[in-house]
Symmetry: C2
Subunit: 396 residues, 2 copies
Amino acid sequence: MVNIAILGFGTVGSGVAEVIEENRERIAGSAGEEICVKYIVDIRDMPDSPFASRLIRDFSVVESDPEVSVVVETIGGTRAALEFTRRALSAGKSVVTSNKELVAAHGLELLAIAKEKNVNYLFEASVGGGIPIISPITQCLTANEIDEVYGILNGTTNYILTRMIAEGCPFDEVLREAQRLGYAEADPTADVEGYDAARKICILADLCFGKNVDPEAIRVEGISGISLTDVDCAGGLGYKIKLLGRAYRLPDGRVTAYVAPHLISDKYLISRVDGVMNGIVVHGNALGECLFYGAGAGKRPTASAVVADVIDAVKHRQRRRTIGWEPADGNALADARDMATFWYVRCAGSPDVRALNPRRTLERGGERVYLTGSLTARELDAALGPADVRAKFRIL
Amino acid sequence: MVNIAILGFGTVGSGVAEVIEENRERIAGSAGEEICVKYIVDIRDMPDSPFASRLIRDFSVVESDPEVSVVVETIGGTRAALEFTRRALSAGKSVVTSNKELVAAHGLELLAIAKEKNVNYLFEASVGGGIPIISPITQCLTANEIDEVYGILNGTTNYILTRMIAEGCPFDEVLREAQRLGYAEADPTADVEGYDAARKICILADLCFGKNVDPEAIRVEGISGISLTDVDCAGGLGYKIKLLGRAYRLPDGRVTAYVAPHLISDKYLISRVDGVMNGIVVHGNALGECLFYGAGAGKRPTASAVVADVIDAVKHRQRRRTIGWEPADGNALADARDMATFWYVRCAGSPDVRALNPRRTLERGGERVYLTGSLTARELDAALGPADVRAKFRIL
């Protein structure tokens, strides 16, 4: 029997405890021994919880108990979560987490402690919720040079965009509805402004390209500036607007990563990833393109990924899983503004049409919509010059 | 450095050699040591191949060379492939394969030999080509009770159906075109009649449900009976016709598996899996639904999966990966004919409409199309009674 502790008994933490109870037999079969939740660490009282008897407040009990070999960190954020993860790893315990903020910001340091202590730091649930994506990248695509990874990485923004597209509801109204349904938080900034997606694309870039990509250092644009006019124009041209996190390797070995709304042709499968679902595309030089689709958040899907990592940590107690990446020097990250791409532009006035090199042009009530040739953001801005720009989005 | 041997230097075998050459550095990084192709066993001469110097004809050289620790079997079929796999495993070498026919028919026996010898028998490439699916099921979904797995598992039939749907070309014509383009073999029976998909759904069922499912024992229906009339009717009702392999667990613990054309609502993502691509859906009790999409065949995608398994075998030389399943007794498999489902039926004459309990009915030039209530195949046949049945397909 293996004893574990769960730090933070919120949505994901309680889901982990429930899934371990419910699928006890299957999990014991997979892990080779029974997995038992010995402690749940939370500062709140929960007298009505079926797990109340295991609830403690003091992490140091876990830290100093040699019986606990795996710690699940579902606290979130980078304060207590960082401290407890450092201490658990240093105490020779493997740590499993769903905390993308922590992995994106401190994964490099925490993986180094794990390596030194010969334990595991695993985070399948940090990207794509229950969708297997970290393991496939680190184990199944190992024969490939991975060129590119991108995806719909945030369910809240995808839900909002899906309803804007399907029903023609404006952003503010759908956001309020999403908050009412629990799909968006009271403070929706991290989702709506793209910061959550930024953490996830950085973790994917770290793993795919082997160099640390700092979420603070990449360009991030959210969905609050998307109007129904653009949803409508895009739809008429055969595109949907989706928020993508995207990262790729340049021929010179540098990596670029960013988050931004994109127009996606409705011929691409990923344009059909709707509602709160996530979809992630990985491109390898042998494999070609592969898409992973499923619930990117939620109590039980996320718990599914966390518990799979717990099982993996139990099976690898004598052998560390070799995942990780290197620190990046100052020149490893290329600015997304310097990367050429096709653009959708809506403007009034007179841009330099020759420089825009448009493949398509639409007139629309005094405005013009251009689908441009391949331009960097700087070239685009120069070409738009004195025009009054109402919207500009990349095209996948 | 690790030495491997490749048995069978056809499309996949030569792809494996190429990918190992091309991504040498990346692969060495993943495996922790360099991987070197020491022998290629084939009965043909290939003087012009860059690998000609490693070509041998006699498998026993590989078998008796203690330097070879991993053998790649890309011979195909169940004759030489079975014999050489048995002998390689018995000689204490791990075996990696893309051979679905062999895994579906003899996986149970070969995994038992691997277990006894404490080596690995790995077959990620046997289902879904380059798409990671076996590893996600056996490693990432281990916290789930898996309820159901289904998918578009054969690229040839999906290519044919996609063109029938998109262009209104009849089956025979598209098949000839597919043969000309190399998407279908000269003898297309295994693909077109569903036998290839049957092998794959049996391997998925083996892994998801833990009991051996014999491809000879399941119901298999191919696509040669699909007419443009049905493609057209289905399209008008909001469905596409796709060939699915499908397996699920019944409440009593039995498993059912089958291959048959299905009508799929165009609201489902899998209905958009077109051309030669494959898509596989797995449903777990914690995860919910997850879809894996990519190239289900082809030289490099398949080689990508084979080489990832080689790397895995190299990393696990001291430790067997615990995948496998149990023999099934006579009652473990439930007949798909006894499972209730919704049906699309096209007929002339007078069925028992009350028993069909249709949700929709269409008149069409003297024929009627029904989308029925939930019925077993036996109930459906009874309800159709004396009517002249022109087509009947399940609805997903």
